[in-house]
Point group: C2
Chain length 331, copies 2
Protein backbone atom coordinates (compact mmCIF):
# COMPACT_ATOMS: atom_id res chain seq x y z
CA UNK A 1 0.00 0.00 0.00
CA UNK A 2 1.23 3.49 -0.87
CA UNK A 3 0.89 6.83 0.88
CA UNK A 4 -1.32 8.00 -2.01
CA UNK A 5 -3.86 5.36 -0.91
CA UNK A 6 -3.46 6.07 2.82
CA UNK A 7 -3.76 9.88 2.77
CA UNK A 8 -2.74 12.57 5.23
CA UNK A 9 -5.66 12.23 7.67
CA UNK A 10 -5.21 8.47 8.16
CA UNK A 11 -1.45 8.82 8.54
CA UNK A 12 -1.94 11.59 11.11
CA UNK A 13 -4.42 9.45 13.01
CA UNK A 14 -1.97 6.54 13.15
CA UNK A 15 0.84 8.85 14.31
CA UNK A 16 -1.39 10.19 17.09
CA UNK A 17 -2.09 6.66 18.28
CA UNK A 18 1.53 5.49 18.03
CA UNK A 19 2.97 8.49 19.84
CA UNK A 20 0.47 9.00 22.61
CA UNK A 21 2.23 10.20 25.73
CA UNK A 22 1.60 10.60 29.38
CA UNK A 23 3.79 13.49 30.55
CA UNK A 24 1.49 15.71 32.56
CA UNK A 25 3.32 18.78 31.25
CA UNK A 26 1.94 18.21 27.77
CA UNK A 27 -1.34 20.11 27.90
CA UNK A 28 -2.02 19.66 24.19
CA UNK A 29 -0.16 17.28 21.88
CA UNK A 30 -0.23 16.06 18.29
CA UNK A 31 -3.12 17.01 16.00
CA UNK A 32 -4.00 20.65 16.65
CA UNK A 33 -2.58 23.86 15.20
CA UNK A 34 0.04 24.14 17.94
CA UNK A 35 1.28 22.06 20.86
CA UNK A 36 0.92 23.47 24.38
CA UNK A 37 3.24 22.75 27.29
CA UNK A 38 3.59 23.59 30.94
CA UNK A 39 7.14 24.78 31.41
CA UNK A 40 8.68 25.97 34.61
CA UNK A 41 12.46 25.73 34.12
CA UNK A 42 14.58 28.84 34.30
CA UNK A 43 15.54 28.67 30.62
CA UNK A 44 13.76 27.28 27.58
CA UNK A 45 16.00 25.69 24.92
CA UNK A 46 14.80 25.29 21.32
CA UNK A 47 16.64 23.82 18.37
CA UNK A 48 15.82 22.69 14.85
CA UNK A 49 17.69 20.66 12.23
CA UNK A 50 17.00 19.70 8.63
CA UNK A 51 17.67 16.40 6.85
CA UNK A 52 17.29 16.50 3.08
CA UNK A 53 17.57 13.52 0.72
CA UNK A 54 20.62 13.65 -1.49
CA UNK A 55 22.31 16.13 0.88
CA UNK A 56 22.19 14.61 4.38
CA UNK A 57 21.29 11.06 3.44
CA UNK A 58 21.11 8.65 0.56
CA UNK A 59 18.50 5.90 0.65
CA UNK A 60 21.00 3.62 -1.05
CA UNK A 61 22.96 3.51 2.22
CA UNK A 62 20.39 4.08 4.96
CA UNK A 63 17.22 2.20 5.91
CA UNK A 64 13.98 4.07 6.76
CA UNK A 65 14.41 2.91 10.39
CA UNK A 66 17.90 4.43 10.58
CA UNK A 67 16.65 7.61 8.90
CA UNK A 68 13.92 8.03 11.51
CA UNK A 69 16.36 7.28 14.33
CA UNK A 70 18.88 9.77 13.00
CA UNK A 71 16.30 12.53 12.46
CA UNK A 72 15.58 12.52 16.19
CA UNK A 73 19.21 12.01 17.18
CA UNK A 74 20.65 15.02 15.34
CA UNK A 75 18.33 17.46 17.04
CA UNK A 76 18.79 15.84 20.47
CA UNK A 77 22.53 16.23 19.87
CA UNK A 78 22.10 19.99 19.33
CA UNK A 79 20.38 20.24 22.69
CA UNK A 80 22.99 18.12 24.49
CA UNK A 81 25.54 20.44 22.88
CA UNK A 82 24.08 23.33 24.92
CA UNK A 83 24.07 21.28 28.12
CA UNK A 84 20.30 20.75 27.93
CA UNK A 85 18.30 17.52 28.02
CA UNK A 86 15.41 17.87 25.54
CA UNK A 87 11.94 16.72 26.54
CA UNK A 88 9.74 17.40 23.51
CA UNK A 89 10.02 17.00 19.76
CA UNK A 90 8.10 18.23 16.72
CA UNK A 91 8.77 16.70 13.30
CA UNK A 92 8.24 18.06 9.80
CA UNK A 93 7.94 15.14 7.43
CA UNK A 94 7.85 15.58 3.65
CA UNK A 95 7.42 12.28 1.79
CA UNK A 96 6.62 11.29 -1.77
CA UNK A 97 3.10 10.01 -2.38
CA UNK A 98 4.54 6.76 -3.71
CA UNK A 99 6.14 6.00 -0.32
CA UNK A 100 5.18 2.49 0.78
CA UNK A 101 3.43 1.57 3.99
CA UNK A 102 6.48 -0.53 4.92
CA UNK A 103 8.75 2.51 4.55
CA UNK A 104 6.43 4.61 6.73
CA UNK A 105 6.11 1.93 9.42
CA UNK A 106 9.85 1.30 9.72
CA UNK A 107 10.63 5.04 9.50
CA UNK A 108 8.30 5.68 12.46
CA UNK A 109 9.72 2.65 14.30
CA UNK A 110 13.14 4.32 14.07
CA UNK A 111 11.69 7.61 15.33
CA UNK A 112 10.06 5.80 18.22
CA UNK A 113 13.26 3.92 19.14
CA UNK A 114 15.15 7.22 19.34
CA UNK A 115 12.38 8.97 21.32
CA UNK A 116 12.49 6.11 23.81
CA UNK A 117 16.27 6.15 23.99
CA UNK A 118 16.43 9.89 24.58
CA UNK A 119 13.29 10.01 26.68
CA UNK A 120 11.46 12.56 24.53
CA UNK A 121 7.80 12.97 23.63
CA UNK A 122 6.60 13.76 20.12
CA UNK A 123 4.14 16.64 20.52
CA UNK A 124 3.48 17.86 17.00
CA UNK A 125 4.75 18.67 13.55
CA UNK A 126 3.61 18.87 9.97
CA UNK A 127 3.09 16.38 7.15
CA UNK A 128 3.56 17.25 3.50
CA UNK A 129 4.00 15.59 0.18
CA UNK A 130 7.12 16.33 -1.88
CA UNK A 131 7.63 15.97 -5.63
CA UNK A 132 11.06 14.38 -5.41
CA UNK A 133 13.53 14.41 -2.52
CA UNK A 134 12.40 13.54 0.99
CA UNK A 135 12.62 16.59 3.25
CA UNK A 136 12.67 16.28 7.03
CA UNK A 137 13.24 18.54 9.97
CA UNK A 138 13.07 18.10 13.71
CA UNK A 139 12.45 20.65 16.46
CA UNK A 140 13.48 19.91 20.03
CA UNK A 141 12.48 21.72 23.20
CA UNK A 142 13.69 21.41 26.76
CA UNK A 143 14.21 23.30 29.97
CA UNK A 144 17.43 23.89 31.85
CA UNK A 145 19.22 25.91 34.49
CA UNK A 146 22.67 26.40 32.94
CA UNK A 147 23.49 27.40 29.37
CA UNK A 148 26.61 26.03 27.74
CA UNK A 149 27.13 27.92 24.51
CA UNK A 150 30.08 28.21 22.15
CA UNK A 151 31.05 31.39 23.93
CA UNK A 152 32.81 31.09 27.25
CA UNK A 153 36.13 29.35 26.52
CA UNK A 154 39.09 31.13 28.17
CA UNK A 155 42.82 30.93 27.42
CA UNK A 156 44.47 28.34 29.67
CA UNK A 157 41.46 26.03 29.68
CA UNK A 158 41.57 22.46 28.43
CA UNK A 159 39.70 21.16 25.38
CA UNK A 160 37.88 17.84 25.73
CA UNK A 161 35.97 15.43 23.51
CA UNK A 162 33.74 12.69 24.87
CA UNK A 163 34.72 9.83 22.53
CA UNK A 164 36.40 8.44 19.44
CA UNK A 165 36.46 10.67 16.37
CA UNK A 166 36.35 9.65 12.71
CA UNK A 167 34.27 6.50 13.18
CA UNK A 168 31.13 7.98 11.59
CA UNK A 169 33.01 9.27 8.52
CA UNK A 170 34.63 5.86 8.11
CA UNK A 171 31.20 4.22 8.50
CA UNK A 172 29.81 6.40 5.71
CA UNK A 173 32.80 5.57 3.49
CA UNK A 174 32.18 1.85 4.15
CA UNK A 175 28.50 2.20 3.22
CA UNK A 176 29.40 4.01 -0.01
CA UNK A 177 31.75 1.20 -0.96
CA UNK A 178 29.27 -1.52 0.04
CA UNK A 179 26.66 0.46 -1.95
CA UNK A 180 23.73 -1.04 -0.06
CA UNK A 181 21.96 -0.40 3.23
CA UNK A 182 23.03 -2.41 6.28
CA UNK A 183 19.71 -3.14 8.01
CA UNK A 184 20.84 -2.92 11.64
CA UNK A 185 18.47 -1.58 14.29
CA UNK A 186 18.94 -0.60 17.93
CA UNK A 187 17.89 -4.06 19.06
CA UNK A 188 19.55 -6.06 16.27
CA UNK A 189 23.07 -5.28 15.09
CA UNK A 190 23.83 -8.80 13.89
CA UNK A 191 23.05 -8.22 10.24
CA UNK A 192 26.56 -7.19 9.20
CA UNK A 193 28.63 -9.33 6.87
CA UNK A 194 32.42 -9.10 6.62
CA UNK A 195 33.63 -6.77 3.88
CA UNK A 196 37.04 -6.42 2.20
CA UNK A 197 38.66 -8.61 4.85
CA UNK A 198 37.16 -6.54 7.69
CA UNK A 199 35.33 -8.65 10.25
CA UNK A 200 31.86 -7.92 11.61
CA UNK A 201 33.47 -6.97 14.93
CA UNK A 202 35.45 -4.18 13.24
CA UNK A 203 32.64 -3.03 10.95
CA UNK A 204 29.89 -2.87 13.54
CA UNK A 205 31.01 0.14 15.66
CA UNK A 206 31.93 2.12 12.53
CA UNK A 207 28.63 1.49 10.74
CA UNK A 208 26.61 1.92 13.90
CA UNK A 209 28.24 5.25 14.65
CA UNK A 210 27.12 6.56 11.27
CA UNK A 211 23.68 4.92 11.13
CA UNK A 212 22.53 4.83 14.77
CA UNK A 213 24.69 7.30 16.69
CA UNK A 214 24.70 6.83 20.46
CA UNK A 215 24.87 10.28 22.06
CA UNK A 216 26.75 10.99 25.27
CA UNK A 217 24.69 12.89 27.83
CA UNK A 218 26.15 16.28 28.77
CA UNK A 219 25.11 16.04 32.45
CA UNK A 220 28.48 14.80 33.84
CA UNK A 221 30.32 17.74 32.26
CA UNK A 222 27.85 20.62 32.59
CA UNK A 223 29.07 21.67 36.04
CA UNK A 224 32.72 22.00 35.02
CA UNK A 225 32.43 23.11 31.38
CA UNK A 226 32.87 26.72 30.25
CA UNK A 227 31.73 26.19 26.63
CA UNK A 228 30.31 23.27 24.70
CA UNK A 229 29.14 22.11 21.26
CA UNK A 230 28.68 18.85 19.37
CA UNK A 231 31.01 17.66 16.63
CA UNK A 232 28.74 17.42 13.64
CA UNK A 233 30.81 18.86 10.79
CA UNK A 234 34.28 17.67 11.89
CA UNK A 235 36.63 18.49 14.77
CA UNK A 236 38.68 21.20 13.03
CA UNK A 237 35.78 23.22 11.66
CA UNK A 238 33.82 22.83 14.90
CA UNK A 239 36.66 23.85 17.22
CA UNK A 240 37.28 26.81 14.85
CA UNK A 241 33.66 27.86 15.33
CA UNK A 242 33.92 27.55 19.10
CA UNK A 243 37.13 29.63 19.07
CA UNK A 244 35.54 32.29 16.85
CA UNK A 245 32.53 32.64 19.18
CA UNK A 246 34.71 32.67 22.31
CA UNK A 247 37.26 35.00 20.66
CA UNK A 248 40.15 32.68 21.55
CA UNK A 249 42.55 30.28 19.79
CA UNK A 250 43.29 26.56 20.23
CA UNK A 251 46.16 24.10 20.20
CA UNK A 252 45.10 20.57 19.28
CA UNK A 253 47.53 17.69 19.95
CA UNK A 254 47.14 15.20 17.12
CA UNK A 255 48.40 12.26 19.19
CA UNK A 256 45.80 12.93 21.89
CA UNK A 257 42.81 12.62 19.52
CA UNK A 258 40.96 9.48 20.62
CA UNK A 259 40.79 7.04 17.71
CA UNK A 260 39.20 3.60 17.90
CA UNK A 261 41.17 0.46 17.07
CA UNK A 262 38.41 -0.34 14.57
CA UNK A 263 39.06 2.95 12.74
CA UNK A 264 42.83 2.30 12.66
CA UNK A 265 42.23 -1.16 11.30
CA UNK A 266 39.60 -0.20 8.71
CA UNK A 267 41.40 2.89 7.45
CA UNK A 268 44.48 0.80 6.57
CA UNK A 269 42.37 -1.75 4.68
CA UNK A 270 40.41 1.00 2.90
CA UNK A 271 43.49 3.08 2.08
CA UNK A 272 42.20 6.10 4.03
CA UNK A 273 44.03 8.47 6.37
CA UNK A 274 42.92 7.67 9.89
CA UNK A 275 44.08 11.09 11.10
CA UNK A 276 42.20 12.94 8.37
CA UNK A 277 38.99 11.08 9.22
CA UNK A 278 39.40 11.90 12.92
CA UNK A 279 40.22 15.58 12.32
CA UNK A 280 37.77 16.46 9.56
CA UNK A 281 35.16 13.66 9.40
CA UNK A 282 31.63 14.75 10.30
CA UNK A 283 28.68 13.30 12.20
CA UNK A 284 30.48 11.76 15.18
CA UNK A 285 28.13 13.71 17.47
CA UNK A 286 30.61 13.60 20.34
CA UNK A 287 30.58 16.57 22.70
CA UNK A 288 33.41 19.08 22.40
CA UNK A 289 33.87 21.26 25.46
CA UNK A 290 36.31 23.38 27.40
CA UNK A 291 36.99 23.42 31.12
CA UNK A 292 39.51 24.95 33.51
CA UNK A 293 39.46 21.64 35.40
CA UNK A 294 41.41 18.45 34.85
CA UNK A 295 38.76 15.83 34.22
CA UNK A 296 39.60 12.21 34.87
CA UNK A 297 36.56 10.40 33.49
CA UNK A 298 34.42 10.21 30.37
CA UNK A 299 36.31 12.78 28.31
CA UNK A 300 39.65 13.01 26.49
CA UNK A 301 41.89 16.05 26.84
CA UNK A 302 42.85 16.85 23.22
CA UNK A 303 44.15 20.38 23.40
CA UNK A 304 44.28 23.75 25.13
CA UNK A 305 42.65 27.10 24.62
CA UNK A 306 45.17 29.86 23.82
CA UNK A 307 44.88 33.60 23.17
CA UNK A 308 44.64 33.30 19.39
CA UNK A 309 45.36 31.14 16.35
CA UNK A 310 44.29 27.55 15.69
CA UNK A 311 47.21 25.14 15.48
CA UNK A 312 47.56 21.37 15.21
CA UNK A 313 50.57 20.02 17.12
CA UNK A 314 52.08 16.88 15.53
CA UNK A 315 53.73 13.91 17.25
CA UNK A 316 57.16 15.48 17.11
CA UNK A 317 55.97 18.90 18.19
CA UNK A 318 55.70 20.39 14.69
CA UNK A 319 52.99 23.05 14.47
CA UNK A 320 50.52 23.20 11.54
CA UNK A 321 48.06 26.09 11.57
CA UNK A 322 44.61 24.89 10.47
CA UNK A 323 41.83 26.75 8.81
CA UNK A 324 38.26 25.58 9.21
CA UNK A 325 37.87 22.46 7.09
CA UNK A 326 34.63 20.53 7.03
CA UNK A 327 31.25 20.47 5.42
CA UNK A 328 29.76 23.80 4.36
CA UNK A 329 26.42 23.81 2.62
CA UNK A 330 26.05 25.45 -0.81
CA UNK A 331 29.84 25.60 -1.53
CA UNK B 1 26.45 36.08 -7.36
CA UNK B 2 25.20 32.62 -6.44
CA UNK B 3 24.84 30.82 -3.12
CA UNK B 4 27.60 28.45 -4.23
CA UNK B 5 29.97 31.44 -4.15
CA UNK B 6 28.60 32.88 -0.91
CA UNK B 7 28.62 29.71 1.25
CA UNK B 8 26.79 28.74 4.43
CA UNK B 9 29.02 30.58 6.92
CA UNK B 10 28.76 33.93 5.11
CA UNK B 11 25.00 33.56 4.67
CA UNK B 12 24.61 32.71 8.37
CA UNK B 13 26.71 35.74 9.32
CA UNK B 14 24.53 38.02 7.22
CA UNK B 15 21.35 36.53 8.72
CA UNK B 16 22.69 37.13 12.23
CA UNK B 17 23.35 40.77 11.40
CA UNK B 18 20.02 41.32 9.66
CA UNK B 19 17.94 39.71 12.39
CA UNK B 20 19.60 41.01 15.51
CA UNK B 21 17.03 41.55 18.22
CA UNK B 22 16.67 43.31 21.49
CA UNK B 23 14.07 41.36 23.46
CA UNK B 24 15.60 40.78 26.86
CA UNK B 25 13.95 37.37 27.04
CA UNK B 26 16.21 36.04 24.28
CA UNK B 27 19.18 34.80 26.27
CA UNK B 28 20.82 33.17 23.24
CA UNK B 29 19.80 33.74 19.63
CA UNK B 30 20.85 32.79 16.11
CA UNK B 31 24.14 30.97 15.55
CA UNK B 32 24.54 28.35 18.27
CA UNK B 33 23.28 24.77 18.54
CA UNK B 34 20.05 25.87 20.20
CA UNK B 35 18.29 29.11 21.08
CA UNK B 36 17.63 29.89 24.74
CA UNK B 37 14.71 31.90 26.10
CA UNK B 38 13.40 33.17 29.37
CA UNK B 39 9.76 32.17 29.51
CA UNK B 40 7.38 32.83 32.33
CA UNK B 41 3.88 32.48 30.87
CA UNK B 42 1.56 29.82 32.18
CA UNK B 43 1.57 27.87 28.91
CA UNK B 44 4.15 27.49 26.18
CA UNK B 45 2.77 27.18 22.61
CA UNK B 46 4.85 25.64 19.82
CA UNK B 47 3.94 25.10 16.20
CA UNK B 48 5.70 24.17 12.99
CA UNK B 49 4.72 24.26 9.31
CA UNK B 50 6.36 23.14 6.08
CA UNK B 51 6.40 24.85 2.68
CA UNK B 52 7.72 22.72 -0.16
CA UNK B 53 8.27 23.90 -3.75
CA UNK B 54 5.86 22.31 -6.21
CA UNK B 55 3.45 21.45 -3.38
CA UNK B 56 2.80 24.64 -1.40
CA UNK B 57 4.18 27.14 -3.87
CA UNK B 58 5.25 27.56 -7.45
CA UNK B 59 7.96 30.11 -8.24
CA UNK B 60 6.15 30.88 -11.48
CA UNK B 61 3.44 32.61 -9.41
CA UNK B 62 5.19 33.85 -6.28
CA UNK B 63 8.15 36.18 -5.77
CA UNK B 64 10.92 35.35 -3.25
CA UNK B 65 9.69 38.27 -1.10
CA UNK B 66 6.16 36.85 -0.99
CA UNK B 67 7.53 33.36 -0.25
CA UNK B 68 9.50 34.65 2.75
CA UNK B 69 6.49 36.65 3.96
CA UNK B 70 4.19 33.64 3.64
CA UNK B 71 6.62 31.25 5.37
CA UNK B 72 6.38 33.38 8.52
CA UNK B 73 2.66 34.06 8.11
CA UNK B 74 1.49 30.42 7.94
CA UNK B 75 3.14 29.52 11.24
CA UNK B 76 1.95 32.71 12.95
CA UNK B 77 -1.55 31.77 11.75
CA UNK B 78 -1.27 28.39 13.50
CA UNK B 79 -0.48 30.15 16.75
CA UNK B 80 -3.28 32.71 16.35
CA UNK B 81 -5.53 29.70 15.72
CA UNK B 82 -4.84 28.53 19.29
CA UNK B 83 -5.48 31.99 20.72
CA UNK B 84 -1.75 32.62 21.21
CA UNK B 85 0.41 35.51 20.02
CA UNK B 86 3.78 34.08 18.96
CA UNK B 87 6.96 35.85 19.99
CA UNK B 88 9.79 33.78 18.50
CA UNK B 89 10.51 32.04 15.22
CA UNK B 90 13.02 29.50 13.95
CA UNK B 91 13.35 28.83 10.22
CA UNK B 92 14.64 25.82 8.31
CA UNK B 93 15.75 26.97 4.90
CA UNK B 94 16.75 24.52 2.16
CA UNK B 95 17.89 26.29 -1.02
CA UNK B 96 19.62 25.21 -4.21
CA UNK B 97 23.27 26.21 -4.52
CA UNK B 98 22.49 28.08 -7.73
CA UNK B 99 20.13 30.43 -5.85
CA UNK B 100 21.05 34.04 -6.66
CA UNK B 101 22.01 36.73 -4.18
CA UNK B 102 18.99 38.75 -5.36
CA UNK B 103 16.66 35.84 -4.54
CA UNK B 104 18.18 35.47 -1.08
CA UNK B 105 18.02 39.18 -0.33
CA UNK B 106 14.39 39.60 -1.38
CA UNK B 107 13.40 36.31 0.32
CA UNK B 108 14.85 37.58 3.60
CA UNK B 109 13.25 41.00 3.05
CA UNK B 110 9.88 39.22 2.94
CA UNK B 111 10.71 37.29 6.11
CA UNK B 112 11.70 40.52 7.83
CA UNK B 113 8.53 42.34 6.72
CA UNK B 114 6.40 39.55 8.23
CA UNK B 115 8.45 39.40 11.46
CA UNK B 116 7.95 43.13 11.84
CA UNK B 117 4.24 42.91 11.07
CA UNK B 118 3.65 40.10 13.54
CA UNK B 119 6.15 41.41 16.09
CA UNK B 120 8.26 38.22 16.23
CA UNK B 121 11.99 37.68 16.66
CA UNK B 122 13.97 35.19 14.58
CA UNK B 123 16.01 33.21 17.11
CA UNK B 124 17.45 30.31 15.13
CA UNK B 125 17.03 27.64 12.51
CA UNK B 126 19.01 25.59 10.06
CA UNK B 127 20.40 26.16 6.57
CA UNK B 128 20.80 23.39 4.03
CA UNK B 129 21.34 22.90 0.36
CA UNK B 130 18.79 20.92 -1.65
CA UNK B 131 19.27 19.12 -4.97
CA UNK B 132 16.03 20.28 -6.53
CA UNK B 133 12.93 21.68 -4.83
CA UNK B 134 13.20 24.42 -2.23
CA UNK B 135 12.17 23.10 1.20
CA UNK B 136 11.20 25.44 4.02
CA UNK B 137 9.74 25.12 7.46
CA UNK B 138 9.01 27.56 10.24
CA UNK B 139 8.71 27.01 13.98
CA UNK B 140 6.88 29.51 16.17
CA UNK B 141 6.91 29.82 19.93
CA UNK B 142 4.88 31.93 22.30
CA UNK B 143 3.43 32.10 25.77
CA UNK B 144 -0.20 32.40 26.80
CA UNK B 145 -2.76 32.03 29.56
CA UNK B 146 -5.72 30.50 27.72
CA UNK B 147 -5.70 27.65 25.21
CA UNK B 148 -8.21 27.64 22.38
CA UNK B 149 -8.05 24.25 20.71
CA UNK B 150 -10.33 22.49 18.26
CA UNK B 151 -11.96 20.77 21.19
CA UNK B 152 -14.47 22.68 23.23
CA UNK B 153 -17.35 23.48 20.85
CA UNK B 154 -20.76 22.68 22.41
CA UNK B 155 -24.16 22.16 20.78
CA UNK B 156 -26.10 25.42 20.73
CA UNK B 157 -23.03 27.57 20.23
CA UNK B 158 -22.56 29.84 17.24
CA UNK B 159 -19.89 29.39 14.56
CA UNK B 160 -17.95 32.49 13.47
CA UNK B 161 -15.37 33.42 10.86
CA UNK B 162 -13.33 36.61 10.98
CA UNK B 163 -13.48 37.62 7.31
CA UNK B 164 -14.24 36.96 3.65
CA UNK B 165 -13.71 33.41 2.42
CA UNK B 166 -12.60 32.26 -1.02
CA UNK B 167 -10.47 35.30 -1.87
CA UNK B 168 -7.15 33.43 -1.53
CA UNK B 169 -8.29 30.54 -3.74
CA UNK B 170 -9.49 33.02 -6.35
CA UNK B 171 -6.15 34.86 -6.09
CA UNK B 172 -4.30 31.59 -6.76
CA UNK B 173 -6.55 30.85 -9.74
CA UNK B 174 -5.84 34.34 -11.10
CA UNK B 175 -2.07 33.83 -10.74
CA UNK B 176 -2.29 30.48 -12.54
CA UNK B 177 -4.10 32.12 -15.44
CA UNK B 178 -1.75 35.11 -15.50
CA UNK B 179 1.11 32.58 -15.34
CA UNK B 180 3.59 35.08 -13.94
CA UNK B 181 4.45 36.50 -10.51
CA UNK B 182 2.80 39.75 -9.45
CA UNK B 183 5.62 41.59 -7.66
CA UNK B 184 3.62 43.32 -4.93
CA UNK B 185 5.13 43.85 -1.48
CA UNK B 186 3.68 45.00 1.85
CA UNK B 187 4.69 48.57 1.10
CA UNK B 188 3.93 48.55 -2.63
CA UNK B 189 0.76 46.99 -4.02
CA UNK B 190 0.58 49.21 -7.11
CA UNK B 191 2.23 46.76 -9.49
CA UNK B 192 -0.97 45.09 -10.62
CA UNK B 193 -2.24 45.41 -14.18
CA UNK B 194 -5.85 44.80 -15.22
CA UNK B 195 -6.51 41.25 -16.41
CA UNK B 196 -9.41 39.79 -18.42
CA UNK B 197 -11.46 42.92 -17.91
CA UNK B 198 -10.88 42.89 -14.14
CA UNK B 199 -9.58 46.20 -12.80
CA UNK B 200 -6.63 46.60 -10.44
CA UNK B 201 -9.10 47.52 -7.69
CA UNK B 202 -10.80 44.13 -8.00
CA UNK B 203 -7.61 42.12 -8.49
CA UNK B 204 -5.62 43.62 -5.63
CA UNK B 205 -7.45 42.20 -2.58
CA UNK B 206 -7.70 38.75 -4.22
CA UNK B 207 -4.02 38.54 -5.16
CA UNK B 208 -2.89 40.09 -1.90
CA UNK B 209 -4.92 37.59 0.12
CA UNK B 210 -3.08 34.74 -1.58
CA UNK B 211 0.39 36.28 -1.72
CA UNK B 212 0.61 38.45 1.41
CA UNK B 213 -2.15 37.29 3.76
CA UNK B 214 -3.05 39.75 6.50
CA UNK B 215 -3.88 37.76 9.63
CA UNK B 216 -6.56 38.77 12.12
CA UNK B 217 -5.36 38.76 15.71
CA UNK B 218 -7.27 36.35 17.97
CA UNK B 219 -7.17 38.65 21.02
CA UNK B 220 -10.68 40.21 20.61
CA UNK B 221 -12.28 36.74 20.50
CA UNK B 222 -10.20 34.71 22.98
CA UNK B 223 -12.32 35.64 25.99
CA UNK B 224 -15.61 34.52 24.45
CA UNK B 225 -14.50 31.62 22.22
CA UNK B 226 -14.92 27.96 23.20
CA UNK B 227 -12.88 26.49 20.31
CA UNK B 228 -10.81 27.98 17.52
CA UNK B 229 -8.74 27.14 14.43
CA UNK B 230 -7.55 28.85 11.25
CA UNK B 231 -9.04 28.16 7.83
CA UNK B 232 -6.06 26.89 5.88
CA UNK B 233 -7.47 23.97 3.88
CA UNK B 234 -11.01 25.30 3.24
CA UNK B 235 -14.07 26.03 5.40
CA UNK B 236 -15.83 22.67 4.98
CA UNK B 237 -12.81 20.44 5.74
CA UNK B 238 -11.71 22.70 8.59
CA UNK B 239 -15.12 22.90 10.28
CA UNK B 240 -15.35 19.10 9.88
CA UNK B 241 -12.05 18.76 11.74
CA UNK B 242 -13.23 21.07 14.51
CA UNK B 243 -16.47 19.07 14.82
CA UNK B 244 -14.58 15.78 14.91
CA UNK B 245 -12.30 16.99 17.72
CA UNK B 246 -15.18 18.51 19.68
CA UNK B 247 -17.41 15.48 19.02
CA UNK B 248 -20.24 17.67 17.72
CA UNK B 249 -21.96 18.51 14.42
CA UNK B 250 -22.48 21.78 12.53
CA UNK B 251 -25.05 23.60 10.42
CA UNK B 252 -23.53 26.11 8.01
CA UNK B 253 -25.82 28.68 6.35
CA UNK B 254 -24.54 29.24 2.83
CA UNK B 255 -26.05 32.73 2.55
CA UNK B 256 -24.27 33.85 5.72
CA UNK B 257 -20.77 33.05 4.41
CA UNK B 258 -19.02 36.41 4.01
CA UNK B 259 -17.93 36.83 0.41
CA UNK B 260 -16.20 39.94 -0.94
CA UNK B 261 -17.64 41.93 -3.83
CA UNK B 262 -14.29 41.42 -5.57
CA UNK B 263 -14.73 37.64 -5.38
CA UNK B 264 -18.29 37.85 -6.73
CA UNK B 265 -17.10 40.02 -9.57
CA UNK B 266 -13.99 38.00 -10.46
CA UNK B 267 -15.67 34.60 -10.21
CA UNK B 268 -18.25 35.62 -12.83
CA UNK B 269 -15.54 36.86 -15.20
CA UNK B 270 -13.41 33.74 -14.62
CA UNK B 271 -16.34 31.32 -14.90
CA UNK B 272 -15.81 30.00 -11.38
CA UNK B 273 -18.34 29.17 -8.66
CA UNK B 274 -18.11 31.85 -6.02
CA UNK B 275 -19.79 29.59 -3.46
CA UNK B 276 -17.42 26.69 -4.14
CA UNK B 277 -14.38 28.95 -3.69
CA UNK B 278 -15.77 30.28 -0.40
CA UNK B 279 -16.70 26.82 0.95
CA UNK B 280 -13.69 24.76 -0.15
CA UNK B 281 -10.92 27.20 -1.16
CA UNK B 282 -7.81 27.05 1.04
CA UNK B 283 -5.35 29.55 2.50
CA UNK B 284 -7.71 32.29 3.56
CA UNK B 285 -6.16 32.14 7.05
CA UNK B 286 -9.27 33.61 8.66
CA UNK B 287 -10.05 32.44 12.18
CA UNK B 288 -12.90 29.97 12.62
CA UNK B 289 -14.27 29.80 16.15
CA UNK B 290 -17.28 28.92 18.24
CA UNK B 291 -18.86 30.87 21.05
CA UNK B 292 -22.02 30.73 23.17
CA UNK B 293 -22.19 34.52 22.87
CA UNK B 294 -23.68 36.71 20.20
CA UNK B 295 -20.77 38.76 18.91
CA UNK B 296 -21.47 42.08 17.24
CA UNK B 297 -18.07 43.04 15.90
CA UNK B 298 -15.20 41.65 13.83
CA UNK B 299 -16.71 38.24 13.14
CA UNK B 300 -19.47 36.79 10.97
CA UNK B 301 -21.96 34.28 12.36
CA UNK B 302 -22.05 31.55 9.67
CA UNK B 303 -23.62 28.61 11.44
CA UNK B 304 -24.44 26.76 14.63
CA UNK B 305 -23.00 23.80 16.48
CA UNK B 306 -25.44 20.87 16.73
CA UNK B 307 -25.29 17.43 18.34
CA UNK B 308 -24.10 15.60 15.23
CA UNK B 309 -23.88 15.70 11.43
CA UNK B 310 -22.40 18.39 9.20
CA UNK B 311 -24.97 20.05 6.97
CA UNK B 312 -24.95 23.01 4.60
CA UNK B 313 -28.25 24.96 4.62
CA UNK B 314 -29.05 26.57 1.26
CA UNK B 315 -30.84 29.86 0.57
CA UNK B 316 -34.25 28.20 0.47
CA UNK B 317 -33.63 26.05 3.50
CA UNK B 318 -32.60 22.91 1.60
CA UNK B 319 -30.12 20.79 3.59
CA UNK B 320 -27.04 19.25 1.95
CA UNK B 321 -24.86 17.04 4.17
CA UNK B 322 -21.18 17.70 3.50
CA UNK B 323 -18.22 15.47 3.88
CA UNK B 324 -14.79 16.98 4.45
CA UNK B 325 -13.62 18.41 1.14
CA UNK B 326 -10.32 20.23 0.83
CA UNK B 327 -6.66 19.67 0.36
CA UNK B 328 -5.21 16.43 1.74
CA UNK B 329 -1.53 15.70 1.21
CA UNK B 330 -0.46 12.48 -0.55
CA UNK B 331 -3.92 11.68 -1.98
Amino acid sequence: MKLSQIGEETLLESIRKTFSHCSRNIVHGIGDDAAVLRQSSKYLFVSTDMMVEGIHFNLRFITPYQLGFKLVTVTVSDMYAMGCTPQYLLLNIGLHKDTTKHFINTFFAGIQAALLKYNCDLIGGDLSSVRRDISLSAVSIGGGKKILSRKGAQPGEKIYVTGFLGDAACGLELLKRMNKPVPITCSNTSRIQSFKGLSRKILQPLLKRHLLPDLKKPAPFVKHASSMMDISDGLLIDISRLCKESKVGAKIYSDKIPVSSELRNASIKLGLSCQKLALTGGEDYELLFTSPRELKRGAYHIGDIVESGTVLIGKNGQETPFSPEGYQHFL
